[in-house]
Amino acid sequence: MSTITTEALSATTLLRFATAGSVDDGKSTLVGRLLHDSKSVLVDQLEAVERASASRGQEAPDLALLTDGLRAEREQGITIDVAYRYFATPRRRFILADTPGHVQYTRNMVTGASTAELTVVLVDARNGVVEQTRRHAAIAALLRVPHVVLAVNKMDLVGYEEAVFASIAEEFTAYATELGVPEVTAIPISALAGDNVVDASARMDWYGGPTVLEHLETVPVSHDLAHCHARLPVQYVIRPQTAELPDYRGYAGQIASGTFRVGEEVTVLPSGRTSRIAGIDLLGEPVDVAWTTQSVTVLLADDVDVSRGDLIVPSKDAPATTQDVEATVCHVADQPLTVGHRVLLKHGTRTVKAIVKDIPSRLTLADLSLHPHPGTLAANDIGRVKIRTAEPLPVDSYADSRRTGSFILIDPSDGTTLTAGMVGESFAAPEPVTDADDDGWDF
């Protein structure tokens, strides 16, 4: 950290990424190595780990103790819940969602991947692509994480053989491409020995690509917004009602996607009323144009009825509203989701009553086979659902927008978050990419 200057830090961007890996693939070691070699672990943290490792009778400091924050995790030596880590290099700042690898914690991988722009999938070079690897790739595809890194770990245990790496990379890339993952970068590493994590490996001179950290530092973090549908979910109506501002009425929200300009014709959904943007305040400063993911306050030219839960969109690019939502979901609660279940659906800033009309299929992640009409989804199940909502919703396809194409289901009786939903076609049958300049992915 000592090499970072104030000037260098002020210009950096933020990358959110997630890790996925099975229990013994060395995920904690990779995370520990990334933090350690990028000098993001400070002396007192390392001392605490050394103390705790020694008191457990371990000879070397167990870097997993850096990340396992709960008593139960340390006792069992496993990661139970998502933890968020923060580190920085002079080029970029990182938020790492460190997610557990156990099958029964699929929901936590979904949680981590939902905000990630990149996922690192770890495999053991000795085992190659296994069922759990396919599960991780499927979840990355399902959540439409724009970038996937395949880290082929433990290269030290296969003699740093290029052929081993090449065959795993080929198999994984073919599988991920079939799922619709837009970009796979495969990197041969040894997290334990430090090869190609932060520093380039001298033992794999046949590899000419970036190290894990170099790739994280340079991967693009936002796409050309000209292709995105502009969407502003209204969070809150700002009305000062003061002597100086008796008539100020601003619609506050974080732009979910696209760009808004002063003067633009807009439609308020679901009512369908139209107006024109008279002004945009960017946290107190007037601006002419604002874009995702800025938090703004929009002023309209006409006195139309707008409240929390509404969606402001360009009149020329408004989504259809519907009361019948079809989606791929991951069930995240312990109590099952069944046909006929009455739930609340939160989409953007709107929460409406809804009923589960049908569960057409349940997905088996290991082989991507579909189990028809299971009738119920248990914890960590992924399936297709049809939901009828009490009010019309302006939903986009998740393929178009991770923000306005996603929703959660909530149990109305106790507030439990039941299910994560992604609107639109099944992920296993992605629409073909036609425009060479537009990869059709948005986040």
Binding site: V82, R85, F165, Y207, G253, T293
Partner: protein, 314 residues
């Protein structure tokens, strides 16, 4: 040998004029969280200690609702061992923005015999009861805290919206998954939600933001001469709370504080950083975390923070 299924435009995103800087992204996310709470809860309150994190929280809240007033009151848990400079700052800020301030007083609980002074004199763990009783008696349903996940490994597991039961307890194994930016604020009567808008900020982010926004801080954050004594490897300020002992000689040193908490357990660090820029340079070069350097209470055990959070601590 990099295997690439489909190459996206080179450098398209990183240099895009639409890419937000990391501070803008964090600011926008925090503002979104404030507005979600304003839209979904009846009676939220901001925990305000006069420390830098709560000061940044208040600044973000002011921006989130501008040009209207912040629709929340403030709540200060007064340990009775506060730095006078911080109390003075607190009252000045409250007056300047026309805010309403609630105070939960640890001294009050000690005077009434409800809480007992600990042998080590630290009052940090004693804050939990006055805090949780105030939340119940005022019926606050959302309580903003300045906690950051980078502070401590138990906090790294904390959700942005963190449900607390009627005893204000945190159960890390029964947390709601938090997906996309769809925060779930549902709670039963008597329960409340702790909300952490600075979850994704680091200490350095907070300082850089303070510098960028020109936010005023209590003077104790900058290097000054102070009478201190050494205990458990930290420089503590002498005071009525129980220091120094006879074996702890007092000396005058040039110091500043990295965190502001109870005087009995918040240590100063040697520093000659008198400006924001100097502070940022110092922190960027520091090899110690904020809590490791200056908080005695977190050194009590490996799970000290987790255990306190379970009981309702912020």
């Amino acid at each position: 040998m990099t295997t690439v299924a489909k190459v996206t435009g080179d450098g398209e995103g990183t240099d895009s004029p639409y890419a937000l800087s990391h501070l803008d992204a964090l600011e926008s996310e925090a503002v979104h969280i404030f507005r979600e709470v304003a839209g979904e809860f009846e009676n939220p309150v901001i925990l305000f200690s006069g420390g830098k994190d709560s000061i940044v929280m208040l600044h973000l809240a002011l921006k989130a609702f501008a040009p209207a007033a912040v629709p929340f009151a403030l709540l200060h848990v007064d340990t009775g061992h506060n730095f006078p400079e911080v109390l003075e700052y607190r009252d000045r800020v409250v007056a300047a923005h026309g805010l309403r301030l609630h105070v939960a007083s640890v001294q009050d609980y000690i005077d009434r015999g409800v809480l007992k002074e600990r042998p080590d004199g630290t009052r940090n763990p004693l804050q939990t009861l006055p805090l949780t009783e105030k939340i119940q008696s005022e019926r606050f349903d959302a309580v903003f805290g300045g906690g950051r996940r980078d502070e401590e490994k138990a906090r790294a597991k904390e959700r942005v919206f963190s449900l607390r039961d009627e005893f204000s307890q945190w159960d890390p194994r029964r947390q709601r998954p938090e997906l996309w930016n769809l925060y779930n604020g549902r709670h039963a009567p008597g329960e409340h939600v702790r909300v952490f808008p600075l979850s994704n900020w680091t200490e350095l982010d907070v300082w850089q933001y303070i510098a960028r926004e020109g936010i005023e801080l209590p003077e104790i954050y900058f290097a000054h001469e102070r009478e201190v004594f050494s205990r458990s490897g930290m420089w503590l300020t002498a005071g009525e709370w129980g220091g120094p002992k006879e074996t702890e000689p007092v000396q005058t040193r040039l110091v500043r504080y990295r965190t502001v908490g109870d005087m009995s357990c918040t240590g100063a660090v040697d520093s000659d950083a008198t400006t924001l820029e100097a502070v940022i340079t110092e922190i960027a070069a520091s090899r110690l975390t904020e809590r490791g350097a200056t908080r005695a209470d977190d050194k009590l055990s490996e799970a000290a923070m987790e255990d306190r959070k379970r009981e309702g601590y912020f």
